[in-house]
């Protein structure tokens, strides 16, 4: 059971430990800096933090001692454009995509059989891979050079980006990524070739005749079931979608109360039928329905949802939970999530009840348990 968790915020990275009776903040790193993402690698124990310095750009740091000390490591770099490259004007923006790193938006360890391999999704849509624990990065040209990539567009952000990287625990060469906006893509050969796999998703924000095109979909987050990796959950801009055939096709789950809109989703590590969501008013308002913070849990594969409220604020709460700000530990009992208004809650009974860890943190971007492999 996880006893340590890392929280990336607008003003630094915070480490929380489970004491004898409660969780508390034990360390702050990068105080004052915009820490947009954190990753714990269960294979090595290493931590990687992504920082976005407004003036000085995106930087990555790595800790090999649990967060006590950090060193700057390589940042993914977009290569120079080929001399014969003819940029395609993106209809949504009226100009070609910018070949330049804007944000590190996802970080994932490779499989257990490929130590040192890391995946990194970015804005404006490049997927990078490291084979040396982050000392160097290479852009995945197969996905970047796919003509359909140039059709991607921003959803909320000004640029499209890869926010989800799911490595199949059965086969490290099978990787599924989520793109806002560009649907869900998967590779079976470690990134040599990619397939667009969003059949069944629906995009209300497009004209009717284009709503089911896979490449315009806006999955907010993709979560793969460790228990059955053929099962994937997507919290989408238009609702909740589920696949039971390794992302080949998707079915929409409707009639979710109080709302099917939201950003995060967490899949239970040992039960493919269980997942958690944090709903919000869709989509131009983005705050909890009726000012009540709730967590939705399904335990029957999406047929029904329980709305969990015990310990969560139930009046005048306007906390939005970003896509990487909910996590579940390796047992499925401990969950933690944080909000844009700096509230952080933990559950140790699979969401049945929640305790407030802090109400005063900076805006929270990501919450990650140190999971025992």
């Amino acid at each position: 059971m996880s006893t340590r968790c890392h929280v990336a915020t607008r003003k630094g990275l915070f480490t929380l430990n489970r004491g004898a009776s409660a969780w508390s903040i034990s360390r702050a790193n990068f105080l004052g800096d915009n820490c947009t993402l954190v990753m714990h690698d269960p294979r090595s124990g290493e931590l990687i933090a992504a920082l976005n310095h407004g003036h000085f750009g995106v930087k990555m740091h790595r800790s090999r001692d649990g967060g006590a000390t950090w060193n700057e490591i390589a940042t993914p770099q977009y290569p120079e454009k080929p001399a014969d490259y003819v940029p395609k004007v993106k209809p949504a923006e009226g100009k070609p995509a910018d070949w330049s790193l804007k944000l590190v938006w996802s970080l994932a360890p490779g499989g257990g059989d490929e130590p040192g391999v890391l995946w990194c999704g970015t804005l404006p849509g490049g997927l990078f891979r490291s084979e040396d624990g982050g000392n160097s990065w290479a852009l995945n040209r197969s996905l970047w050079d796919d003509p359909q990539r140039e059709e991607w567009f921003g959803g909320g952000a000004d640029h499209p980006g890869i926010h989800s990287v799911c490595v199949d625990p059965r086969d490290s060469r099978h990787v599924t990524v989520g793109v806002s906006c560009g649907g869900v893509w998967s590779t079976r050969d470690a990134g040599s070739t990619w397939r667009l796999t969003g059949r069944g998703m629906r995009a209300e924000f497009m004209p009717p005749e284009r709503q089911f095109e896979p490449n315009v979909q806006d999955p907010h987050l993709v979560a793969q079931s460790p228990a059955n990796p053929d099962v994937l959950w997507v919290q989408h801009h238009n609702g909740i979608f589920k696949s039971t055939d390794a992302a080949a096709s998707w079915s929409e789950i409707t009639n979710v109360k109080p709302s099917a809109f939201g950003f995060p989703v967490a899949a239970h590590p040992g039960d493919a039928d269980t997942a958690w969501f944090v709903p919000a008013v869709k989509d131009e308002k983005r705050y909890p329905m009726d000012g009540r913070v709730v967590v939705n849990r399904t335990r029957d594969g999406g047929k029904s949802f329980e709305t969990l409220t015990r310990g969560l604020p139930q009046e005048h709460a306007y906390d939005l939970v970003f896509r990487h700000a909910l996590d579940v530990d390796e047992t499925g009992d401990r969950l933690m999530f944080g909000s844009t208004t700096g509230s952080l809650w933990v559950s140790e009974d699979a969401g049945d009840s929640w305790q407030t860890v802090s109400s005063n943190l900076p805006p929270i971007y990501a919450v990650r348990f140190e999971k025992v492999s």
Binding site: G54, F56, G57
Partner: protein
């Protein structure tokens, strides 16, 4: 030889001491500086070699015009200041 000075605000991330660096254009001067202090490059230029959106460079008090190719001429005894813009904070 031109003198290159950096804002104090960058120093907590990466050491950027004041240096005299030869060069006829601001690109030449910066390339010379980054040969001595490689880690500073990514804090000033983006991955396409352009001046970062929220950074500014002044040559003897005048802001450079060519932020992408950095072709602005640098007089031999100029003072080059690299600072962060007020935008982007």
């Amino acid at each position: 030889m031109p003198t290159v000075r950096f804002t104090q605000n960058i120093q907590r991330h990466v050491a950027c001491p004041t240096r005299e660096v030869a060069g006829e254009t601001i690109r030449d001067v910066l390339d010379g500086y980054f040969r001595l202090h490689a880690q500073a490059r990514g804090y000033v230029l983006d991955d396409q070699g352009r001046l970062r959106q929220h950074m500014a460079i002044f040559i003897d008090g005048s802001q450079i015009r060519d932020r992408d190719d950095l072709s602005d001429r640098v007089p031999p005894d100029a003072v080059v200041d690299l600072v962060q813009a007020l935008s982007g904070g």
